[in-house]
């Protein structure tokens, strides 16, 4: 037996509420032993209700106190059914007492081998009241069945139960995964404060109460201020243990619970279990505030029946709502995948459809980290915090594809700083070693609770600090979910994983494309190198051929001539030989330059100040003959004394390359070579009126081995402009070209005059 005085908030979970040893005093409990139906236990209040004392009743056969009809009815009921004996309930029991007869409602069930007969005052029943009641009951049923969606069903149920019972307030109370409760529907008198949306800690309805509620579907407390009536004797005479009252409607409830009700100002209460797949899902909780409230058996029965109907509907409706939610989740995937593949940049693709990204997991914020770039969507911690979160996830051992928590600060205390946006974290890895992740965030639950009442309204307490009230309970619950977000549902985690798979496929597809592209670039590079070798060998063989031919002819002449060699025949050939040897040398130098530049070993000689004007004039003079031979003009316009720290050989090479280029592609028109300078830079321009360069080829001409003119029509290695560009850039300058096809080209070289070469020792 529990000592009521010891009951407090912490021992609630230990109280054995199914064996209270007492009942509520609005009815009488008679415990009968078969076959004689001897009264072996009786509630002490028998005297009050029946006019016969408990002691007197004890061990008498019940037949002594029943009318013949009632006894026959009782016996018939006992024989008809074995376990649940409620088919003809309530039994119309006529008790014969010293003061005459008494009409009572009798309810019969078995417990631990004994029959328990609970007697309550029968309400007045007329034919009319019965038909009105059944009409109401049927109406209630049809209303429930026609409701659409879970919320409407629950709110309709609250309304119907209120209508049937007349309670001041009827709430549908739902247990969450962590056993805490939330008021999800409510019907109440208008003057009452709404409780809809309030959350309560799990301790408000202790575990053993929830176990009991799964067995017995209805509890009734007509008067929460009652004094319990103990059973006599206190234990089951068959077993010697306290009698199990799990299925007794008169069962005395926990004193804690009555106190809880009284603190809420509740005088009478009733609760009906709502089960989903055999597990307690919630309660229909009814409150009466001012008055005692008796609910007759048949109304209780209909309410219990409604509870069962709701239980069935909930399974169905919440399932279909789950399916709907899952479908909504799934519906986000295609748009995300499409956005991903449509975008050049995978991450930007994802965040280009922020609603889908967030709806996928019902998150309030998200972050995508890919190849060192982090993009944020919605409500998230700041960039630095997200970066540290990613570092933390990366540092975790193992290679799970996903990580999720609804209490992030329990994992990382630092997260408390941003609990308002990220108490919940769901992360999937695209590539953990590279820090590539998609993250979703959920705020602390408290921040998004649907407040029905005024959350700022102070908690009213009449007396001591231990007193509990709905608001105080709510505060307790707030404490218990502090730093928690709503938990991630399995299908949301799955959706995140599906997005991960899609993203990885996309990444792989892109890598394949990249490799293909690289491969084709490589093939091109190999081809252009092969082309280069064939052009280079041709270029080398041409002077060699000339050399060899001249030498062979001279040899023949020498062999055929007796005496002195004819000078007029031999000398010009020797001169050609010298020229060709010089040309070969130049070619070899060019090739060596290419190999130096490619290897990054080009060096500049900048030890002396150089007069660029002289260099330009010198180069122009060197080529003047070639121009004259083709009947073309080379116009030279130079600013005098343009000096700077430059390498003379390399600069002359640059100018030579540009001049040769204009000789080759400049047609028969004049070429202009100009030199200008300002305080900072020198500008060399070579302008021709030749074939010009098409727009699409402008950048190609500076590449290695490129001759944009097709078909080998123009000789050369295709290296001149490339070398020019490399040399100019080595001097921290730049080379550019303006050109129009058919109208000619203008090459411009800009080189800074004063440069600290120690800083630019060549790449």
């Amino acid at each position: 037996m529990i000592n009521f005085n010891e009951t407090n908030l912490t021992n609630c979970d230990r109280e054995q509420i199914h064996i209270p040893g007492s009942i509520q005093p609005h009815g009488v409990l008679l415990v009968l032993q078969e076959p004689e139906l001897t009264i072996v236990q009786v509630s002490e209040n028998a005297q009050v209700l029946l006019g016969t004392s408990a002691k007197e009743l004890l061990l008498s056969p019940i037949s002594e106190y029943l009318s013949e009809v009632s006894f026959a009815l009782l016996q018939k009921e006992i024989h008809l059914t074995k376990l649940f004996l409620n088919i003809n309930h309530p039994l119309a029991i006529m008790i014969t007492t010293k003061n005459g007869s008494l009409q009572l409602d009798g309810i019969l069930h078995r417990s631990q081998g004994l029959l328990l007969l609970e007697l309550e005052n029968a309400p007045e029943r007329t034919q009319d009241s019965i038909s009105v009641f059944y009409y109401q009951a049927r109406l209630a049923l049809s209303q429930l069945q026609s409701s659409v969606g879970l919320n409407q069903l629950l709110s309709q149920a609250a309304t119907e139960v209120k209508q049937l019972t007349g309670f001041d307030r009827v709430m549908i109370y739902r247990f969450h995964e962590d056993s805490h409760g939330e008021v999800v529907a409510e019907a109440r008198e208008e003057n009452l404060e709404p409780f809809l949306g309030l959350h309560y800690p799990a301790s408000d309805i202790p575990k053993q109460a929830r176990v009991l509620y799964e067995k017995s579907w209805l509890r009734l407390i007509p008067d929460a201020t009652y004094t319990p009536s103990p059973l006599l004797p206190s234990t089951n005479p068959l077993t010697g243990t306290p009698l199990d009252l799990s299925f007794s409607v008169l069962r005395s409830v926990s004193k804690m619970h009555c106190e809880y009700l009284r603190n809420m100002g509740v005088r009478a209460s009733m609760s009906i279990s709502v089960l989903k797949d055999g597990v307690l899902w919630g309660l229909i909780a009814c409150h009466q505030y001012q008055s005692v409230k008796h609910i007759p058996y048949e109304i209780r029965n209909v309410c219990e029946f409604l509870g069962q109907i709701i239980s069935l509907q909930i399974s169905r409706k919440s399932e279909s709502e789950d399916i709907e939610k899952r479908n909504l989740t799934k519906a986000c995937l295609p748009s995300l995948i499409q956005a991903m593949s449509a975008h050049i940049h995978l991450v930007r693709g994802l965040i280009s459809v922020p609603e889908s990204l967030l709806r996928l997991t019902e998150a309030n914020g998200a972050a995508v980290s890919y190849e060192g770039e982090i993009q944020l969507v919605g409500q998230t911690p700041d960039l630095g915090q997200v970066r540290r979160l990613i570092d933390w996830i990366q540092a975790q051992p193992g290679d799970e594809l996903e990580f999720h928590t609804h209490s992030l600060s329990r994992e990382i205390p630092e997260a408390e700083a941003f609990k308002g946006v990220a108490s919940g974290l769901l992360a999937v890895s695209l590539s953990k070693p590279h820090g590539n992740f998609i993250l979703w965030f959920r705020p602390e639950v408290i921040q998004i609770v649907n407040w029905a009442g005024d959350p700022k309204k102070p908690i009213v307490t009449d007396s001591g600090v231990d007193q509990i009230s709905p608001r105080k309970s709510f505060a307790l619950w707030k404490e218990s979910v502090h730093l928690n977000s709503y938990p991630w549902q399995p299908w949301q985690v799955n959706a995140a994983l599906e997005l991960r798979s899609a993203a990885i496929l996309e990444i792989i597809a892109r890598k394949v494309d990249e490799i293909k592209h690289l491969n084709s670039e490589l093939t091109l590079a190999v081809k252009s190198r092969d082309d280069f070798f064939s052009v280079a060998s041709h270029e080398l063989k041409t002077p060699l051929t000339a050399l060899q031919l001249h030498i062979q002819v001279m040899l023949r002449v020498s062999k055929m001539t007796k005496g002195d060699l004819p000078r007029d025949r031999v000398l010009p050939k020797l001169s050609v030989v010298e020229d060709q040897a010089f040309r070969l040398n130049q070619l070899v130098d060019k090739l060596l330059d290419v190999s130096r530049i490619t290897a990054g070993k080009l060096s500049l000689d900048v030890t002396q100040a150089l007069n660029l004007t002289d260099v330009i004039i010198q180069v122009a003079n060197t080529h003047r003959e070639e121009f004259e031979k083709e009947n073309r003009e080379l116009r030279v316009l130079v600013q005098p004394e343009v000096t700077g720290n430059w390498d003379p050989t390399r600069l002359s090479q640059v100018v030579t390359n540009l001049i040769k280029n204009s000789l080759k592609y400049g047609g028969k028109e004049p070429v202009e070579l100009t030199l200008e300078a300002n305080a900072n830079s020198a500008f060399i321009r070579v302008k021709d009126r030749g074939i010009g360069i098409a727009n699409e080829n402008i950048t190609r001409i500076f590449e290695r081995f490129e001759r944009v003119v097709e078909g080998h029509s123009f000789n050369g290695l295709g290296l001149g402009l490339w070398i020019t560009k490399q040399l100019v850039e080595a001097m921290s300058g730049r080379v550019s070209v303006k050109s129009e096809i058919g109208k000619g080209s203008e090459f411009m070289v800009e080189i800074p005059r004063h440069l600290d070469y120690s800083e630019v020792i060549l790449k």
Binding site: S534, T542, Q580, H712, S713
Partner: protein, 133 residues
């Protein structure tokens, strides 16, 4: 008409050679050498010039010495044009090249002979004599 043209095309001048070579140092020395050996040589520096020249002639050289890599019109293009022109197709052509000759070149351009650069003069003379004797 066709027939008379064809007849005309076979009228090749004996010991008369057309040299098509862009590199003037090579051109000069070959011309000098062939003249020494008693040939009449016309030298031009690309395929287009050669087509223009041949188009203006009624009598044709007995041999064309053709460089392959040249500006304006290279040797391969010239040879294709020549083969398509019935009046010119039968003039024998000897390729002179520093580059590679592929099997495809041999199959489609069907040169009468190929001389690799750098040129060996004895071999060169022998080849020329084969077509001009």
């Amino acid at each position: 008409m066709m027939k008379s043209e064809k007849m005309e095309s076979t009228a090749l001048l004996n010991k008369c050679i057309l040299l098509i070579e862009d590199e003037c140092m090579i051109q000069q020395i070959i011309v000098e050498f062939l003249q020494e050996e008693g040939f009449h040589v016309v030298s031009l520096s690309n395929g287009q010039e050669a087509l223009n020249y041949l188009g203006s002639q009624t009598l044709y050289p007995s041999l064309i010495l053709l460089d392959l890599m040249m500006p304006v019109m290279n040797g391969r293009v010239f040879r294709r044009e020549q083969l398509q022109n019935t009046r010119l197709a039968e003039i024998p052509v000897v390729f002179m090249t520093a580059g590679r000759i592929t099997q495809e070149d041999l199959d489609t351009l069907v040169p009468q002979a190929v001389i690799k650069k750098p040129i060996d003069l004895d071999h060169f003379l022998e080849t020329v004599n084969r077509f001009c004797s």
